[in-house]
Amino acid sequence: MTRFSRSRVAIAAAAALPLVLVAACSGSDGGTGGDGGGDGDVTELHVLDYYNNDPNKTVWQGVLDACATEVGVELNRESVPGGDLIAKVLQMSSSRTLPDVLMLDNPDVQQIAESGALAPLSQFGLDPGGIAEGVLSASTYEDELYALQPVTNTIALFYNTQTLAAAGIEPPTTWEELETAAAALTEGDQYGLALSAINTYEGTWQFLPFMWSNGGDEADIATPEVAGALQLWKDLLDAGSMSQSVVTWSQADVADQFSSGNAAMMVNGPWNFGTLAENAELEYGIVPIPAPAAGDTVVSPFGGEAWAVPQTGDDARMAVAAEFVQCLVGEDAVVEAAVGTNTVPTDPSLSDTVVEQVPNLASFAEQVPDLRARTGELGPEWPTQATAIYEAVQNALVGGMSPEDALAQAQNG
């Protein structure tokens, strides 16, 4: 009888196991606030970002540590891969385990703010200081500021100094010069220009400076201005000045093509300095992206990440987190981050200090006052229109459609 009852116990235990597991899973809803706990006595902040590769990882660790010391807390930092951040944030918001300080890619800020997961910074009395207007508009949702962005980056035209010098060509400043130069620099296995027209948001990001500088607007892309910009890309492709592979190249692929000498010029950003430095023989210069005509202003989108304070429900921790975010846009933090990660300050008054240390950043720094936010006009609706833009670009480049038809279809479809 004893043996028998023991086996019954075992069976009952086996049957109950899944229930215990379920209970254990649902028990983790406790929230991050568990340890630091009580009011007024905040000793630790949970920080979430996607700087999981060097140099970003290490440089930001230094910046974050300095601010933690200043605010007087310990850091519990978590870095996830870039592609996983939003999924992680969504998961955290549904289980109420949001971190105290959250880093977001700037075009995502409004979408997360719309969900209600972020605290408006005005309630902590944060001061955006001299951050450029365009940059602030990406972090603003329904007239409330939700995040502060210390540094930014954008794209410009990189050119191979030796190749251009050998061909006797000056770096182009207008679209016409760009076409002529790209055609002249195309020979053998070398294309004149490389850029990314891939079917992801990267492709859209690369197209924006051409579209915006020509007077185009993302709210309605079925306009002659946007078509003109797309026609330029199509002409470059049809003339053979750039490879048809541009429709599959990410920006990292573009940098590889440029570095290995397959392209004399490329549209890309300063985050590639590291990759390009690996090729010791490569000498390159950087100029702003060519304007439609001489004297036109070039309007580029900006990249980079902003720091927000999620609604964790613990007022004391949120107040300390806000203090921490304020420190991240302070001069020391901004300069250290900009120099270390090859980015430029969002506050133009700090640019000179940074460019002095990293001269290659000059072309990027001078664009800061004119930079335009991708989400400035459409806010959380931006992803839909960003998809429409890269689809139109691809349809025109390799899908056999005219730029006008491709854009009209993307806008109305």
Partner: protein, 319 residues
């Protein structure tokens, strides 16, 4: 967002339970024991198969966005997500591509897989080693494999086109991944490469089951070579062929990683399928409702084939 998949071996019918001897000491107690044994498996199925499927179906009828995760509010919208999905200009293209991709992949995988299985059916030196090498595509992580394939298929610098350059009668370089007509072909070729081990392994197993005596008897009656194949091998292999084809279709319909890795559905949506489109709506545009609706459409299509499989399977057991 499709979470249902049917694995070889676990899919389809469970073997019929052996009849129990009717020598229970207490019917009630043994009933209890039976239930206790059932609970873990049932709980597992409900948790990991039932819940995701039900969640996906309900999500298809809800406005489920990033906001939902924080507020928990997901208003019911009826069939609005399905209307959005089906009327999207990309949908028709994706549906057609899904069909072409599936048919192309299956025909290629099955034909080559069968030829390889037949080849290895005759024993020769090192056949065992070679047969195990054949499984390699299965062992390589798909993300790594697709990176290598992208490199092979690159228009300007890819190994394939550089090799084709050497052919005197071929002019120009095919734009494998960047032309809207060739990209689907390229993706199908890679998927065939990936599917050959599965087809060859299962078909090889089926061939081993055919008794050798039949061939001996057949050869006495003059059935050798192709005649032996059509009159002995093919009829006896048919049950295995059915399994391979139906499972192959269900696998291929939901293929995501191959396409994402190679073309991400491009260029100009030339390789967009229902599954990549669903992925895009859910995880790029964060419109989880529409993504789930697309996933459900895909599940429905798979279900048709799964039912076909179950019916055919039942018939072969009856026989």
């Amino acid at each position: 967002m499709t979470s249902t998949e049917i694995r070889p071996g676990s899919g389809g019918l469970a073997p019929p339970a052996p009849a129990r001897p009717a020598r229970h000491r207490s019917v009630g107690r043994s009933r209890l024991v039976q239930i206790a044994f059932l609970i873990p498996a049932t709980a597992y199925l409900v948790l990991f198969f039932g819940y995701p499927v039900v969640k996906n179906i309900t999500m298809g009828f809800q406005e489920y966005t990033t906001r939902t995760f924080y507020t928990g509010e997901a208003p019911w919208v009826g069939f609005a997500n399905y209307v959005t999905a089906v009327t999207d200009p990309v949908f028709d293209r994706a549906l057609l591509n899904t069909g072409l991709f599936t048919v192309g992949s299956i025909v290629g995988q099955f034909t080559i897989g069968l030829l390889i299985a037949l080849f290895f059916h005759r024993r020769f030196h090192l056949s065992g080693v070679l047969r195990s090498l054949l499984l390699l595509p299965w062992l390589v992580p798909m993300i790594a494999a697709s990176a290598v394939w992208r490199w092979i298929l690159d228009t300007d610098h890819g190994v394939l086109n550089r090799t084709l350059d050497l052919l005197p009668f071929l002019d120009g370089r095919p734009a494998w991944l960047t032309s809207t007509t060739l990209a689907l072909v390229a993706v199908i070729i890679v998927n065939i490469w990936l599917g050959i081990p599965f087809n060859a392994t299962i078909l090889y197993g089926g061939l081993q089951e055919i008794p050798e005596e039949l061939y001996e008897a057949g050869s006495l009656d003059g059935a050798t070579g192709a005649r032996a194949f059509w009159h002995i091998t093919w009829p006896l292999l048919r049950p295995v062929v059915t399994v391979v084809l139906v499972l192959g279709v269900v696998y291929t319909l939901k293929v995501l990683d191959v396409i994402l890795g190679l073309t991400n559905g491009g260029p100009a949506n030339a390789t967009q399928t229902i599954s990549t489109f669903s992925y895009h709506m859910s995880f790029r545009e964060f419109d989880f409702g529409v993504g789930a609706a697309l996933g459900n459409i895909l599940v429905l299509i798979s279900l048709v084939f799964a039912v076909v499989y179950l019916r055919l399977n039942r018939r072969s057991i009856d026989e």
